[in-house]
Amino acid sequence: MYQEIILDHYKHPQHRGLPDAFDAEVHHVNPTCGDEVTVRVKLADGTIADLGWDGEGCSISQASTSVMSGLVIGKQIDDAMALQDKFLALMQSRGNAELSEADEDELDDAIAFEGVSKYPARIKCALLGWMAMKSAVAEAGWGTSADNGTAKAGETV
């Protein structure tokens, strides 16, 4: 599972750093392993106009956040949320995801995390940045505020 992609993103994280202009900032912690991530987002015209992050933790959480940023910046918010759902489903697949080719294309580097889904203790690591992104978008005023992005699914794998 430690594919080059993950180690590569870990060593060379994308969009790391907190932009000065932002609509919302959230800070998420995975209490079981101490992984932390802070995410700032800026929304514009129904898209995620900008996103930057800072964090600390294992290669999975940091690399996953890096991959996520690359994928969602510039996307329509609805599309980003749909992608988040896909990634969540991938993480809950216990290593048996059945992905269409379109899914694979869309998930891109995030496919590298499929193997993580076999390790219950690490699914939360992989989801950390994605959940923070979802929360930040909600915080910034998108969609129903009821969906506050707590890592419900990750909590109960």
Partner: protein, 418 residues
């Protein structure tokens, strides 16, 4: 699948045993059921091939065992038709499940934000007169801790709840109603929906003791409508050491924790701790991993046979046994004497012969029944008897075995009157 009791019997290794030189006739399933080979193998296989601790590990064995354990939760959720797997809490047995609720409720008194569960003087906790001790003592102790009043719905001569008392005993002061679905002492099947509705109408929490229902009746928690339903694994052909508490998620989410320790926390600090979401909040420490997994296998086993098929099989046995036993002169059925709204558990007395003697003499014939108050002493007090003899049936019980029972009881009578 057509139900065939002889095929079923082959799944249970102990049924080929002899006792005192004669084949075992096991009529004590309400006390604890025997185990099919698949259940025995499930535990053994886990230990021999996939064992580690759950949840915490990031290695392969830890991943395998966690999926097995959480997979068992999925199976139980499906078995109960629970809306969510997160509503399934593994406990040691149903006794612990009921105590968990009783303690979480008293913990509400000292937990911020748990006001809706607080219980105190003036409040009432309601059970019935036909409860198992495990559904009496936890509530008596809760009453003692909180100053609330402990009350109960009485039973009538036939072993049924006094219908007219239900609405009186469950009233605006009632905070908790905990009652048995099928009585282990009488065989009575209670009107669950009727009682749950009354509890809901007065704003009380409703709890169903399904220890004797789970092995015999199709269970659907959404259909029952109660807030909590619990059962115990060893009576459902599963291993000892595991039980289940199902609860409505919105209630579980607000309920204060019971046992503190590993796995039930969100974060621990010397200055204070926060707790995980259900179900983990209520599963402190290393769980009964292999036992939960094997309970999942037991659930698969009965589901494959079909709970409706089991119910029909046992209904027929009950009618047959009631007929057979009532043909014995002087024998008195304690509990409903007809097969209506009753399960495959039959208590009886014989004039002048103590149930202990009946059971022991039946044992000499290889027949295992139970004698005593069946952990439901108030039932015996109600009928003015020290104890009963109880025969109870399961998926593997045959009419031949019931014939053996009737012959055996006849013989006991003879010995004592000779």
């Amino acid at each position: 699948m057509a139900f065939d009791v002889e095929t079923v019997r082959k799944d249970f290794p102990i049924l080929s045993r002899e006792v005192h030189g004669v084949p075992l006739v096991y009529l004590d399933s309400a006390n604890s059921a025997q185990k099919p080979q698949v259940v025995i193998d499930a535990e053994a296989d886990l230990y021999a091939n996939h064992y580690a601790n759950v949840a915490r590990a990031v290695h392969t064995l830890g991943s395998e065992v966690t999926h097995a354990y959480e997979g068992a939760r999925d199976k139980v959720a499906a078995f109960l038709n629970a809306p969510s797997r997160d509503e399934i809490i593994f406990t040691r047995n149903i006794t612990e499940a009921l105590n968990l609720l009783a303690y979480s409720l008293s913990n509400a008194s000292t937990t911020i934000g748990a006001d809706r569960f607080r219980i105190g003087p003036g409040d009432e906790i309601v059970v019935t007169e036909m409860e198992h001790h495990s559904n009496i003592v936890p509530w008596q102790l809760l009453a003692q801790r909180t100053g609330a009043t402990f009350r109960w719905i009485p039973i009538d001569d036939e072993g049924r709840l006094v219908e007219s008392a239900i609405d009186e005993v469950i009233n605006e002061r009632t905070k908790v109603v905990s009652f048995v679905y099928q009585s282990n002492a009488l065989g009575t099947i209670n009107p669950v929906r009727r009682i749950v509705e009354r509890a809901r109408a007065v704003g009380a929490i409703s709890i169903v003791d399904a220890a004797q229902a789970a092995p015999h009746l199709p269970l659907d928690v959404q259909d029952l409508g109660a807030d909590f339903v619990a059962f115990t694994g060893h009576k459902l052909y599963g291993p000892t050491g595991v039980g289940v508490l199902w609860g409505r998620y919105d209630l579980l989410a607000q309920l204060p924790p019971f046992l503190g320790g590993g796995e039930m926390i969100e974060t621990v600090d010397m200055s204070g701790s926060t707790f995980a979401a259900p179900p983990h909040r209520f599963e402190a420490g290393t769980p009964m991993i292999a036992q939960a997994v094997a309970l999942g296998t037991a659930v698969d086993y009965v589901t494959a046979i079909g709970m409706h098929e089991i119910r029909e099989h046992e209904k027929a046995l009950t009618a047959y046994a009631l007929d057979g036993l009532q043909s014995i002169d002087g024998l008195r059925i304690i509990g409903p004497a007809t097969p209506v709204d009753r399960g495959a558990t039959i208590s009886f007395t014989l004039p002048g012969i103590h149930p202990h003697d009946v059971a022991q003499l039946l044992d000499e014939e290889g027949i295992a029944v139970r004698a005593g108050h069946h952990c439901a002493r108030p039932v015996c007090v109600r009928y003015g008897i020290p104890a009963t003899t109880r025969a109870s049936f399961g998926v593997y019980t045959t009419t031949d075995e019931i014939d053996a029972l009737v012959r055996g009881v006849d013989k006991v009578k003879e010995m004592f009157t000779r």
